[in-house]
Symmetry: D3
Subunit: 270 residues, 6 copies
């Protein structure tokens, strides 16, 4: 009943969906189908009422090795006029950005659970997630610079809002590796778990906590947090006031307050 993908595996339990990058023999390198399917999958997750939280993981030895270099053949057009080639390349990059931004536009929280390798496009990818968690073996690198290019699918735009400016710049210029401990200290990941099992168990627990809240208010919260990053506080305040004018559910509020008073757990509609 869940949609099937060539490069992703998808499961759903207790309202928590798990999306796993699924090209384990290629270290989950992001090829053409994976870019497209990421968008399809997160648009499905966004629309599906029964999904409240999403966990993003990688199958196999590595979380994700970034862009599959074979894609360059695909994205570099062959038009004879360099200017028209440039225009087509720009459209391709915009499309790939949209592929990843689908994660940010998905109205439900997305938690990345990262082990081992997370480099290049994988950093762009995880920057679109709400929170990032790692196992001790995780390591991160803005690797685009090492293949001679300026990263162009989101890291340079989103990362400086996540970790300190100075560190973001050093990582982007040097391509050096940041291990899990440093990533945690810098705020890139929220917590480091001993190993992969602990990581999945820990992230699942957080996801279940979120899934137990009213999904409507969780969606409103995500909308506000993403909006706040890109707007002034004054605009943000006006936005939430207007939002809650229609989207504050008295049903949920009553359930929440009652549950709190009775020290029970509220049940909320999707």
């Amino acid at each position: 009943m869940l949609p099937q993908y060539e490069t992703l595996s998808l499961s759903l339990e207790d309202k928590v969906a798990t999306v796993s990058l699924n090209r384990p023999d290629r270290a989950n390198a992001m090829n053409g189908p994976m870019w497209r399917e990421l968008q399809e999958c997160f648009e499905w997750l966004d629309a599906e009422p029964g999904v409240r939280v999403v966990i993003l993981t990688g199958n196999g030895k590595h979380f994700c090795a970034g862009l599959d270099l074979g894609m360059f053949g695909e994205v570099l057009s062959e038009h004879s006029d360099p200017a028209r080639r440039s225009e087509q390349f720009r459209r391709t990059v915009l499309r790939m950005q949209d592929n990843l931004s689908a994660i940010e536009k998905c109205s439900k929280p997305v938690l990345a659970a990262i082990h081992n390798t997370c480099i290049g496009g994988a950093v762009d990818l995880t920057c679109c997630c709400d929170m990032r968690y790692a196992s001790t073996d995780a390591h991160f690198s803005i690797r685009e610079i090492d293949i001679g290019m300026t990263a162009d699918v989101g890291t340079l735009q989103r990362l400086p809002h996540i970790i300190p400016q100075g560190v973001a710049r050093e990582l982007a210029y040097t391509g050096r590796t940041m291990d899990a401990a440093e990533a945690c200290q810098m705020g890139f990941v929220n917590r480091v778990f001993e190993d992969r099992d602990a990581l999945y168990a820990g992230v699942r627990e957080i996801a279940l906590t979120i899934a137990a809240k009213t999904p409507l208010a969780i969606r409103g919260t995500k909308e506000m947090l993403v909006y706040a990053r890109d707007h002034s506080v004054a605009d943000g305040l006006n936005y939430i006031a207007t939002w809650n004018a229609g989207m504050l559910s008295q049903v949920d509020l009553t359930a929440g307050i009652t549950a709190q008073a009775q020290k029970t757990t509220a049940e909320y509609e999707d």
Copy 2:
């Protein structure tokens, strides 16, 4: 001579005002009068020349338990048309936001000294302060999600400018408790003091340090720091250049430079 409030106590010594939330038997829950009085009080503090710095504390066992749930009866209107009800609710939220924003608009630095409970609306409240300090027993939680609603009076707009994105999102989605040590590591509070007495003594010392500076330049500094959060660096640079064109006091400058040269302390006008 100082204004009197029903839900706040106010004192003033050595140009440092202390505003204390004063409903100790209700854990300083923010009821209707408190929302209104916070604005009145901070507008008074803004206008009063003899006040240079403000400390915000809570009387009794807790700093503040957030919104008094009894207020919902007040804010949820009874209009028969849901659309007109929504419009009135929006206006109410905007007014409550204005109540708290008065702290940010107050032209003098506001230092929150936080002990024990600081949850829900209390987090919105302290996000409007310039700096936050805590005792070891302090704990924080974005509790709105637990009563089924999206927080709507400022936390989701201001917090991501204060602590790392990923942590802000986790706190907002889970409603989990952050203790004083974590709050300090994340940058939410600047320093943790051993106990409440040490907290008040420490914050008072910082406040007195600030009160000894020229209040005019302190006001300019606050204006610039708030402006910088919501504007580009280019706009901010133009703003301070224009500001100092009129507001750089040669009187203060002379006093300041002389004092520094003579290793004495300058006296400044309010």
Copy 3:
């Protein structure tokens, strides 16, 4: 062959330029010529193809003691009409801001290597750099408040994007000293080195790492990182897509990918 300056010394080796503040007998206090020469020098560095990375240091005992107070005579005009005096003062401040912003506008990464004193204008100065590194004896202070003025050449605009809001405000209001360890924990400096020799060696190593990358993509990366600070993520994504449409070098890309495959080091044109 390198340009000569009165207040700066400049050297260039292995495509890494070093700019040293060079008024050691005045603790490198920033006088009129130094403000002007900083802009001249960084515009030269920006334009010179053979320069890929810049290190900024201070000669002598201190990194930099900030504004040379003698400059006030220079910047405070004598016009009889206070309003026209204000207008001239505003222009002077804008010009001094431009002097420092030349560092940010320089298309190549700038690494500040800071020892001992870094106060007042020196903080404004280093906030324009991409990354900051320090030796253990380094200490920082937003000293403008102590001479009775609101800082007006960049610290209040740029610092809150570099370190946590609450700490930035405390430093700006109190003028207190932050030592190297705290500066590192707050993200103001990326790393603290044991002593000045280790600092220079360490920073040089990082600079050489960057200089080995393709300078074109490094320049694109800096453009994107500065742009991201002042624009929404959506605007930033569109910008890099448009940028790379023209500025992604297939020459560099081929060199980079080949080198990575062969585990060699690519050579890039300036």
Copy 4:
């Protein structure tokens, strides 16, 4: 039952309020009380459910001669430190701007009906209105330049959004008079009426047309039009979608559609 003012007269008929500047012996020059009362009056009009549209006129021979020059004594403070004097002056200007912006913030359409003189502050005033209508004897001038100052209460900010850039600049630099015919051609006034009686009759008719629509949707429309001026189209689209999510009244919609189908007139709640 209507509030009384010293410098304004206020009437209300058929849900259309008329505010008249009422210092006819002083050509309705705007003195201290008038500035304050304009804000008080428009805040009252905003809050009063029985008011759906507002007409702004001037009693006596002239619509309004602008700022009462006697106010300068009031607004120019006597502080001995020029910098502190500047700070107080800035606050005064901000307050006067707020006085006028109350018209723009009033959630109901405001129609200015202008005869004879409309100069200086009167232009600032009418720029805050939604629409402007004039009799043939009306004439307009940005007169601030002729008393040696840059206009500072709104004309320079709002006028270029109302009439063509080039004309706005000419008027602001020269202080020349624009007559009713030119004002209409430039889009400053929507229509010119033969004389004052025709003006009032014509504007009243437009006001009554508006008053017959659902006031809730009219308020939403004003909110969107003001918002659109200051935000991108993308932000504006998101705002109205969020607004109508709560504020689209099915009661009004049913009434409106039914009336249209039956060619009758719908009755709407305030």
Copy 5:
């Protein structure tokens, strides 16, 4: 070979596509399929290299009567919780906005040729076009207010950038009809033609003129004009410089300059 639509007819000749609203028996009222197909069609036109310009017309007696009121049944959800209903309604409005914005996002110029009725949603629709032309019988009205709602699919956001503020507000508040002559004087339509035949002939001639230019530079021009509306001039200047760095075609430039020198007509690739 051209795609087929239920509610639109599409033709293509000499690189000029004509899209006609095609529900003539319903005055081309915009029903569910038409909203969806407009997006599909303009996305196809955007992607199809052989299309250089698009003309938008209406088949039958009227250009377009706006929203088909039958759609309200479709867009108003039946969820039992009003808050969840609001959320779904917001999503629906966003989707309908996207349907129309596809015209603005289509990279080729879109010319509306309007006859007879153009009201309500039809105004939203034509505001997304680059230029509007009309026959003398055309008339326009922001009719949403007459069915009791605030217009929510683009008119209130885009119209004030097209015609003078004051007139836009009057039209939006009163719902009154604007005839072709006024529409032309206000700048809503560029030219009025005697009758429908003259309109189509005239618009076709303009379209052919544009189709003869290099389509790459035309696409760049549209991108810049839309961008300029929503960004500062400084941002716009940087954008076109970056754009032309990759997208200025030397092939086209040579062809254009040569043709101009030889007074011939250049042939450009799609």
Copy 6:
């Protein structure tokens, strides 16, 4: 005493400077030296206290034929790597934009007096001026499209703020000629004069009117009008309040008010 230029002639009388494009044998086509000298000249005019207003004209038969096509050889670099060529081209365009923006940044009003041909780059040029005036023989065209390129030095960014959107787009897409009468009706020029003598006499009279006002307030007015175009009204209001806090001259104010009371003309300092 006035600076001399190769491609411009400059005169100064009664505080009104006249800058004339001076390559009459080439229809004042803008070659490399002219671009550079325009910036130099307007920076000089900005800084020179004795200049209060600037008139921009063209010597010879035409106002200006736009870009000298010979410049393309200059601006198109020969770097072997297309990506590095793109980067250099972008820098060239940015520099040419700066050349023209110097007119907008010049703090004094600039009045263009346009006769006969004004096409391509000449439209970019005159869009930077505050006001445009024309003789009846003037004609305008956004000619860039006819040499196969997207205009990149300012027309597409500034023109839509000057004339109606729909007309701006038609002109940009078609490259068609707009005559003086249409230009006036669209708001591109403020007034059309019978012939060139009347044009110069008329513009000079306006310039003298402006030169008689206090230059300080005129400079403030220009600053505000340019700022208003690119910022929200709220930001603009705050800016002028802060500006006038320092830059409102009581000397000028007293002179202005006294002169008005005595019906004499005030004399103001530069």
